[in-house]
Structures are given as C-alpha cells and as structure tokens.
C-alpha cells in the first residue's frame, strides 16, 4: 500500500489474484482480450436466436417436404427434397403474386425515380422556399402506410352500387372521379366490386409512387448539393446548354445516388405488402376479387398463417433469390454506367 486508495473492486480482484494464481493468469491478465465479448454478448445471444438460427432453420425447412405445424409436433419424419419449391411454383396463386409484384416493381421504380429526379433538380436550382418545399416533399415519409392507404382508398372509392345495380346507383363517385368528371372524363370504378385489374393496379401505382418519392428526393437532392459548383461554372464559360450540362455533368455525377435509389427501390418493391393492405384491406383485392392483388410477401404470410411452413420457407427462399439476382443485375448495370 503506497498511499493510493483501493476501491472495493480492486480489493476483490487482488484477493482472488493472491489466492488463485491460475485466476490471475487466465482471467485477469487476459481480460483486455476477451472483454469485448462481454459488450457483444447481449446482441450476440439475440442474433443467434432470432437471426442466425432462422437462416439455418428456414433453409432446412424449405427442403423438408410438406413440413407443417401439426405433422411436426406429431413427430412425423419428412423426406428431403425439392417438393416444396415445386408446390410453390405450380400453385396458381403464387404466379398471380409473382406477376403482381414484378408489375408493381417495373411500373413504380422508374416512375418514382424519374419524378424524384425531376423534383430534386428543380429544388436544387431554386433558393427561395427551398427548405419549405423540401419539407413538404418529405412529409409522405413520416406516415403510416396502412393509415394513409385508407385515405387513398377513400379518395378512389365510389359510394353506391356501381356495377351490381342496374341501372348503377352512384351516390358519390369519390374525389378522384370528381376531378376526372371536371375535365370531361368518364367515371372509373377504381377499386369497388366489379372493378377491373388495371384500375386496381393504377391505384396501387399512384399510392406506391407517392409513398416512394420522399426518400428518393432526399437522397438525390443530397447528391445534387454535393456536386462541386466549379463543374457548372466551367460549363457556363464554355457556353454549354442546360440540357447538355444536365446530361453530361449532373447525371454522371449523380449516378451513384441514382443507382442507390433504384436498387433500394427494387428491393423495397419486391417486398411490397402493407401498402396493398392499406388500400384493399387484408383480403388483398376488391370485394369479390380477394387475393387478386396479393404479392410475394403476402403469399408467404398466408402460408405461415395456414402453418404450411415448408412452402412458406420455400417461397421466402425464392423471394430472396429473386432479390439477389435483381440486385446483382442492378449492380452489374451500374458498374458499367455509374461514374464514381
């Protein structure tokens, strides 16, 4: 004791170190080497249970033919094979889901990216009210996709017997149809009983694009603001036209951001689900057409709820595979086109 005050902790450690030399050698002296694992342990335990094990188990279940809740608790043995995958692909509802998902992706990603780019470029070239408008364009992001889906449903909804009643009784055609009428168009049955598939799709595309804009505008505007002004000054000195400046300076320098929003857009698009629930409800379709707008994720959840875990796992793996391929394709294209 050389005058320094020992804390209780030090005393305890000192006591153990004195009594048990092996404790000092293997625990106290090596402490800096393994103390990180103490910090990591809560996260690692949870990750093992809820992330690592599911990866292993879901892959395992996907290859156990006909794996389901009842049979599994009954102690049945399952043979190993690809039957789950075959079942999924051959099931007609899955093809509908796949078609809907792909169609929504292919329609919404280009439209929302183009609109977001246009808005971001315009926002970037104004000063007055820029912050204000930027905030407005971000607003749809902080919403509940189910709740605002219900608002869109109300806007497109026709109150009355539109198709079943002869003659049709329309009490109010909804605000969207009011606007169409105002411009001299015909009322469309967007999403009620008897509505057509393309009309349903149109509602979904409008809603998903509206929902996807804020994130894309935020990222693209951030990218635009990061472009060095000197490039534009140089272009101005050379007398380059606006269009050419946009094509030769803005787009190439923005291409990493564009690639980013397109890739995340496709990934999100393949996982589309709750926006459809917001508009059409848990039936995933208009009255009388339940399941017509179901998506891949919806298919997986239906399978989980009916406890057909084998097919659910197989479908999830197929979804993962599709996302991987599409992302790889995107990366491959962007490697050729993106200017870093």
């Amino acid at each position: 004791m050389t005058g320094t005050k020992l804390t209780l902790k030090d005393k305890i450690i000192g006591f153990f170190a004195e009594k048990m030399p092996w404790f000092k050698k293997y625990v106290i002296d090596t402490f800096p080497k393994w103390k990180a694992w103490i910090y990591l342990s809560p996260a690692l335990v949870l990750l093992l249970i809820f992330t690592a094990w599911p990866i292993v188990n879901t892959v395992r279940i996907a290859f156990l033919e006909g794996y389901g809740s009842l049979a599994a608790t009954g102690g049945a043995k399952f043979s190993f094979g690809f039957q789950n995958f075959i079942d999924v692909v051959e099931y007609h509802a899955f093809i509908t889901c796949l078609k809907n998902t792909v169609l929504l992706c292919v329609l919404t990603v280009p439209i929302s990216t183009f609109l977001a780019l246009l808005i971001a470029v315009c926002l970037n070239s104004i000063k007055f009210m820029q912050r204000f408008l930027q905030t407005i364009f971000f607003l749809p992001y902080v919403t509940n996709s189910i709740a605002i889906g219900m608002v869109f449903a109300a806007m497109f909804n026709v109150v009355g017997n539109f198709y079943q009643g002869r003659p049709p009784v329309i009490i109010t055609p909804g605000i969207v149809n009011n606007v169409i009428q105002f411009f001299g168009g015909e009322i469309v049955n967007w999403m009620n009983a008897g509505s057509e598939y393309w009309a349903n799709m149109f509602v979904m595309v409008v809603y998903i694009v509206w929902n996807a804009l804020p994130f894309k505008i935020l990222v693209l505007l951030g990218g635009l603001q990061g472009i060095n002004k000197q490039y534009y000054d140089a272009a101005k000195v050379d007398g380059t036209s606006r269009v050419r400046t946009f094509g030769r300076i803005t787009v190439p320098l923005l291409s990493p951001m564009l690639a980013y929003v397109i890739i995340t857009g496709f990934i999100g698009g393949f996982k589309e689900y709750s926006s459809i629930v917001g508009i059409f409800g848990e039936d995933m379709g208009p009255a009388g057409g339940a399941g017509r707008l179901n998506t891949m994720v919806g298919y997986i959840y239906d399978a989980i709820e009916s406890e057909a875990w084998g097919t659910a796992s197989a479908a999830a793996l197929i979804l993962f595979g599709i996302i991987l391929v599409v992302t790889a394709l995107n990366l491959w294209v962007s490697k050729k086109k993106v200017h870093y």
Binding site: I126, L139, V142, Y273, P286, I304
Partner: protein
C-alpha cells in the same frame, strides 16, 4: 475613329439585347420551376388535406355528389366517436408501451455493441462485422417463419415480449452508431485509459454525449417502427390486450362494401397520423439524417 466608336456602340447594343433576352429566359425558367414544384407539392399534400376535411364532415355531406372542399358543419364529434369505435386509447397505450421498452433496451444493446466494434480489439472483429452487415440483405420474411415457430415454442404467443424481444438488435443501428463512434478521436480513449477511467465511464461520459445526434435518430426511427409495425404483430399478438395501433386501425374499419362511414374512418386515420407529424415537425433534422442513410422505414 468614327467607325471604331460605331462598332463599339453596336457591340454594346448587342450585349444589352442578349442580356435582356437572357433575363427574360431566366424569369420564365424560374416561373416554370416554381409552378411545377408547387403543383407537385399540392399533389403530395392533397391526401392530407382530404383526410382532415373529410374527417370533419357529416356522413351526409361526405356523400354529396358534388364534393365540398370545406366542411359546412364541423363535426369534432367524429373524433370522439372514432376514438371509441377503434378503441384507440387501448391501442395507443399498447403501442407506447412496446415502443418505449423496446427503444430503451435497443439503445443499451446498440451502444454496447457499437462500442465494442468501434474501440475494442478482439479476434475476428472484421469478420463478425462483415457477417452482420451481410445479414441486412436477407429479406425479413425469411426470419419470420422460424421466429414464429420459436416464439410459439417459448410460450410468447400473444404477449408483449413477442413484440419487443425479436427486434431488439438492429444491424443498421449498430452500423450507424459505430460510424459515429469511429469519428470520435481515438486519442480521447487512450487518454482516458491512461487516467484509469473505466470503459463504461468513458462510454457514458464521452462517447454517448458526442454521439447524441445518432442516438436521437435511432430513438425516433425505433419509435416510428413500433407505431407503424403491422405484419409481425398481426401474426403473433392480434388479441385485444396486445393489439398495436396499426392493426387495430385497419381491423376496426374493414367494411369493403363501399358503405363505410368514411368521415369516422378518416378521423381515426388523422388521430393515428398526428403523433408522427408532431415528431416530424420538432425533430425533422434527425429523421432526415437517419433516413438518408437507410432507406428502410422504422
């Protein structure tokens, strides 16, 4: 000399003309820009406007063939009725409970993990971190199937635990915070070591205050995640005692015949959306900062 001055004046005239046309073009471009942006902004805002005015109308007024753009008679009572119909009070409490508990626990875990990855040395650090980042690519549905089986086996079906525990660890939050921790100069840590400050004390006194913006971003995103969560709660805790607000909202108004009481429905939607807008108004900076780096909701 005369001709010379003549040229100069011609030149000046030309310059002036060019400048004038440039100015006119500039003004037109400005007008076009603002017109476009304002129209887009109105389109973006319209659903919110329609939600609010519809929520204040009587059902009769809502059903008018020619819509009104401002309610003739403001029906505040719609909000009271919506609150009761959808049982929003209970849903609100459930959601707040899940949100607050999971945010607090998640923050503790994220801070500890991010600290280990940012400042401590251990074998296989880069490998582990890379593996964690790789799992972010896997769609959540792949985990959901096994997690559903697991939580049922644990006896967590229809409890609050099932809504909190499986999602406590977010690789994205760990990544976000680790990046922020790495920006803090390592010299501070080494100095603290020399002074004999313990890791925990250093973490609490130095790292956490400096990383506050990231922590606030994480808190907001996590709370918003609880508020907007729909799929997992529907699967594992859809009973009245544990129902979350989004599930309750959708299920309270599932009338698909087109005869639903829309003003009431819109009032409920407005009530559910209001807290999100309040958070957005006051903490916009943190939300936008967190979001621009993620691309995921909640």
């Amino acid at each position: 000399m005369n001709t010379n001055t003549g040229i100069v004046t011609m030149h000046e005239k030309d310059m002036k003309r060019v400048q004038a046309t440039q100015k006119v073009v500039k003004v037109f471009v400005k007008i076009a820009l603002y017109t476009f942006l304002c129209i887009m902004a109105l389109i973006v805002l319209f659903p919110f406007y329609w939600m609010i005015i519809s929520s204040l109308k009587t059902l009769e007024e809502y059903k008018l063939a020619i819509p009104t753009f401002f309610p003739k008679q403001i029906m505040w009572s719609n909000y009271v009725r919506a609150f009761d119909t959808a049982n929003l009070g209970r849903l609100f409490l459930n959601t707040m409970y899940v949100g607050i508990v999971s945010t607090l626990l998640s923050l503790v875990i994220t801070v500890l993990t991010a600290f280990a990855f940012a400042r401590l040395e251990f074998k296989g650090k880069d490998l582990l971190f890379g593996a964690l980042l790789a799992t972010m690519m896997i769609p959540g549905e792949l985990f959901t199937i096994t997690n559903y089986i697991t939580v049922v086996k644990f006896g967590w079906y229809q409890t609050f635990t099932v809504l909190i525990v499986p999602f406590l660890v977010s690789i994205f939050y760990i990544y976000l915070l680790r990046q922020n921790f790495m920006q803090i100069p390592e010299e501070l840590y080494l100095a603290a070591k020399v002074d004999g400050t313990s890791d925990i004390k250093y973490l609490w006194k130095v790292m956490i205050p400096l990383a506050m913006p990231s922590l606030i971003s994480i808190t907001i995103l996590k709370m918003m995640g609880a508020w907007n969560s729909y799929i997992w709660p529907r699967l594992v805790a859809n009973d009245d005692a544990h129902k979350m607000i989004t599930n309750g909202l959708r299920n309270a108004f599932t009338d698909a015949t087109g005869q639903a009481d829309f003003p009431l429905q819109m009032a409920a939607v407005a009530l559910v959306s209001a807290p999100l807008f309040l958070v957005f108004i006051f903490l916009r900076k943190y939300i936008m900062k967190g979001v621009s780096r993620s691309g995921i909701k909640g």
